[in-house]
Symmetry: C3
Subunit: 115 residues, 3 copies
């Protein structure tokens, strides 16, 4: 099996494929002025695009790690998440609170998918 | 390879299989009034049951992420963990502090296993 | 496929192989008196050694989770990280803030690699 990488930067890659397993980077919103719902929407749109790069989609997501800078925003994030997931194909998931790399960022999501 | 899911909810699944790799959701105790040891016991019992759903068991756990709301409870969690693991078959593991989704929750554990 | 473990302890293993996927434990520095750069260097040297145990190396790292006790030290960690990664072969990565298991520890890194 070969490792295939997409959107390769000097620090990290956004997508890494190993056989039929796809690893995405932890993703944050481009516009940190948005609220949790807005940021979650931006992130999930990025995930859709990156999964497409690897020839897969959200119905194949295996697991997700979600970090919120304020765990009290859990329901707001979930509202957007629940509308996004592929019914019947929801991933394993864990959500915890953590401070993120830049001020204003309220959500970060990292997923693994099959292809 | 096909993705197989168990205990599928509208938000997440508790178990996701991709080939011979099994992803479990981040699990917390049902009874948040219990202390760290009690909660860890409840979680590890859930993990045993969920691994069984996927036709595997704790001797095949590959890696574990553990979150504690108070890292000072590390030894209490470990006391229960050390008694649970399959000797000679311990997983890769990382434990950090994080606030969890509901008040009272003191431990969350997310594992990946082989089958 | 068989699960192969290296540096197996009673609590966790430092390296777990499942087929061509390698899981490393969350690693911290041996000398917590070092600053973030020094600790990151120690951790990445450990990762190099552990990947070698599994017959692989940093050019095959798939994903990385990094925890910093102070997210403000992000750039210092990155300075060492950027010099370490294999150009063109950078992993998917997520970095968040979290308190770690022992006082003085400033960085923890957990990676998955192909072999």
């Amino acid at each position: 099996m070969t490792v295939k990488r997409h959107n390769v930067g000097p620090r990290m890659s956004q997508v890494v494929e190993n056989g039929n397993t796809v690893y995405l980077a932890g993703l944050t919103a481009d516009d940190p002025s948005q609220d949790v719902k807005g940021q979650t929407k931006q992130i999930l749109a990025k995930i859709d695009n990156l999964l497409k790069l690897a020839g897969t989609d959200k119905s194949k997501v295996l697991s997700a790690n979600i970090w919120l800078t304020d765990i009290a925003t859990w329901s707001q994030m979930n509202e957007v998440w629940d509308a996004w997931v592929s019914p019947g194909n929801t991933p394993a998931r864990a959500t915890v609170e953590a401070k993120l790399a830049a001020p204003g960022l309220k959500v970060e999501i990292m997923v693994q998918a099959a292809k």
